[in-house]
């Protein structure tokens, strides 16, 4: 087990290097870089002299490998350059937005888990009953309903029609407002984005929990425990569910990229000033240092998620030594 973990952690490094290379090359083919650097629009095209000066300032004339190497070195020192738009260091912008996005995602994930695990387990226990069937069909339909469309509908209903919740943003109070009021305000702004982000994984997780608990309940070791007279509730939670947790852990890692990608849409819809919205806006404005940093960081988060899942899997089930790591098992 220790050998496997060691190899697994080592295997992260080539992927890490690959992530930076792919991102850098991708940004290299994005058009309109000089335009973005000079801050020019369609109307005021930069003069040829300005272009030459810009290319020199940003070292655009050097070979691509040199520039990649320089960028990589700076990345290692956690120096991500500064934004072309507001000239603030990217690292500080990143810290702010990452905190907002991660809190949103963690809340969403907790909400999804808090609902889907009891629900999925319950449905597995009552499998075959009318309620189970209706619930399964409902979850199936929910799973096919696109998250961002659901976000728009919920926004319309709760913020526009019934005026129960704020439409968008983080806060609608002045900075001097009392703390209690501010907390309440923040919470009310969080409700819709968190629900919409959780929504997509909710149906998936509940279906998965139901399937794995059901598989556990039908396995011989549960039959054996039941024959010994073990209490039914202990059977469900200690035997069947405990074994369903293991695949669930790996599933959580697979949800990381989905959640981060979903953040782009949800944050744009609710004007939540996080990484997703920043990424999209920087891409539109050709703010390359920010796009570069955000692409690398989201990929790193995904990588960290899959590594964590493998380690947890190994701890949860030491027998398993997956040959291909986390990804090999998913498919």
């Amino acid at each position: 087990m220790r050998g496997y973990l060691f190899r697994r952690i080592l295997s992260v490094f080539p992927t890490l290097l690959g992530i930076t290379l792919v991102t850098f090359l991708l940004l290299e083919i994005l058009p309109g870089r000089e335009m973005a650097l000079s801050g020019a629009g369609e109307s005021n095209l930069p003069s040829p002299e300005t272009l030459v000066r810009l290319r020199q300032t940003y070292h655009l004339d050097e070979p691509i490998l040199t520039r990649y190497g320089q960028w990589l070195l700076r990345l290692c020192r956690w120096d991500l350059g500064e934004s072309l738009l507001d000239h603030r260091p990217v690292t500080s912008t990143l810290r702010q937005t990452a905190a907002r996005t991660l809190s949103l995602n963690l809340l969403a994930l907790s909400l999804a888990l808090a609902i889907s695990i009891p629900l999925g387990t319950r449905w597995a226990v009552t499998a075959g009953s009318m309620r189970d069937r209706v619930g399964t069909v409902f979850l199936y339909l929910l799973y096919a309903f696109p998250g961002f469309a659901a976000a728009l509908i919920l926004q319309y209903l709760f913020a526009v029609r019934w005026r129960l919740l704020p439409l968008q943003g983080v806060s609608s109070l002045p900075a001097a407002a009392p703390l209690l009021q501010k907390t309440w305000d923040l919470a009310s702004h969080l409700v819709l984005p968190v629900v919409c982000l959780a929504y997509g994984s909710l149906a998936y997780l509940a279906r998965f929990t139901r399937a794995s608990v059901l598989e556990g309940l039908h396995s011989p070791y549960v039959d054996a425990a039941r024959a010994r007279g073990v209490d039914e509730r202990v059977l469900i939670w200690k035997h069947a569910f405990r074994n369903a947790v293991v695949p669930l852990v790996t599933l959580l890692a697979a949800l990381v990229p989905a959640l981060l990608g979903g953040s782009v849409l949800v944050e744009t819809i609710f004007s939540w000033p996080g990484m997703g919205r920043l990424y999209f806006e920087s891409l539109l404005n050709r703010d390359y240092p920010v796009v570069l940093a955000l692409t690398v960081v989201t990929a790193l988060l995904t990588l960290a998620g899959s590594l964590l899942a493998d380690i947890l899997y190994c701890i949860a089930d030491p027998r398993v030594e997956p040959e291909q790591g986390f990804h090999g098992r998913l498919s």
């Binding site: 080539p14 992927t15 399937a211 990229p257 782009v264 744009t268 692409t295 995904t302 498919s331």
Partner: protein, 326 residues
């Protein structure tokens, strides 16, 4: 063998969506299905299809079918069920709520929502289908090569798959779409297809590894089949069922990705009706128009549902034991 209900439902809904996509120019168009111009019968709506030049009316381009009264000698015998073009603006009929005339209402430019939803079908299915075909081709090639090749090549290809999987699809697709020199449907298909192949490759690689030890592969190899032949003539047809399941599911996911990108404004080019585009217009409204949100969402939902049902139905056919639990 009994056909599973989800396969039946998925097939029915899929065929309906396909029909809507194929017949969109006939279902929703201000050009009539059947008209009489200067005594001759013609079908201006049908002439929108390539190769249907025979249906064009004489001097059709000069006739405005919305004009009342119609020009001299022209009369509409049978108009389309939804007599509005998806792009025809009408500033006298802005944001009309659903009712007679405009069954699903109009958007801020006075365009008929039903017509736009119907014309969203060909766009969604085309982009979803072509992008899935692209990712299937890359995935099968990469996965098959990895599964059959020597361990070093296999390792590198597996690393590449893991690498691509590290980028959230929407983020990678947005960057690729932004990198396209000529934005359009082609680059959208490429952006979606290039982000979604790694899952298929991984799956096909494991399938190849599983089948590699089977005797029929040994027999084919002994009979002189090389690796390309093994891959295309033996391994691929023998894993067709699970590949179809993956493909069907993947079409739905690609359509979701397309509508998300169109919603953000970097998907299908402006001037093409798409569900994501209608939703984006709804988001930009100050006065809320629920019909702009609801109807494209429902179209999107039903199409994705059809793909999921089809995938699950096919899986049940191919592997009846496993699906009992799911």
């Amino acid at each position: 063998m009994a056909v599973s209900p989800s396969l039946k439902a998925g097939l029915a809904m899929g065929v309906a969506a396909l029909a809507a996509a194929l017949f969109a120019p006939l279902l929703a168009s201000e050009a009539p299905l059947l008209a009489s111009v200067k005594g001759g019968l013609c079908s201006p709506a049908l002439s929108a299809y390539p190769g249907a030049a025979w249906a064009v009316c004489p001097s059709q381009s000069s006739i405005d079918w919305r004009a009342r009264p119609l020009p001299e000698g022209a009369s509409i015998l049978l108009s389309a069920p939804v007599p509005f073009d998806p792009e025809a603006t009408n500033l006298d009929a802005v944001l009309i709520s659903p009712g007679r005339g405009h069954y699903l209402g109009t958007d801020p430019l006075g365009r008929d929502v039903l017509s736009r939803v119907i014309h969203g079908f060909p766009v969604a299915l085309l982009v979803g289908g072509l992008a899935t075909m692209l990712s299937l081709m890359i995935g099968i090639l990469a996965g098959g090569t990895a599964g059959l090749a020597r361990s070093w090549v296999d390792l590198q290809l597996t690393r590449l798959m893991d690498l691509v999987a590290c980028f959230p699809t929407l983020i990678l697709a947005l960057a690729l779409a932004a990198a396209a020199t000529r934005p359009g449907l082609g680059s959208l298909v490429a952006a979606i297809g290039l982000t979604r192949w790694s899952g298929i490759a991984r799956f096909f690689r494991s399938e190849v590894l599983r089948q590699k030890g089977l005797t029929y592969i040994d027999a084919a190899h002994a009979a002189g089949a090389g690796r390309p032949r093994l891959l295309l003539r033996h391994l691929l047809p023998n894993s067709l069922a699970p590949i179809l399941v993956t493909a069907s599911f993947s079409v739905g996911q690609a359509i979701l990705l397309e509508s998300g990108m169109s919603f953000l404004g970097v998907g299908v080019p402006p001037g093409t009706a798409s569900w994501g585009g209608i939703l984006a217009e709804a988001q930009n409204q100050i006065t809320p128009a629920w019909w702009l949100v609801l109807f494209p969402s429902v179209a999107l939902f039903l199409t994705v549902l059809a793909c999921n049902l089809l995938a699950d139905g096919l899986r049940e056919c191919a592997d009846p034991r496993r699906s009992r639990l799911g």
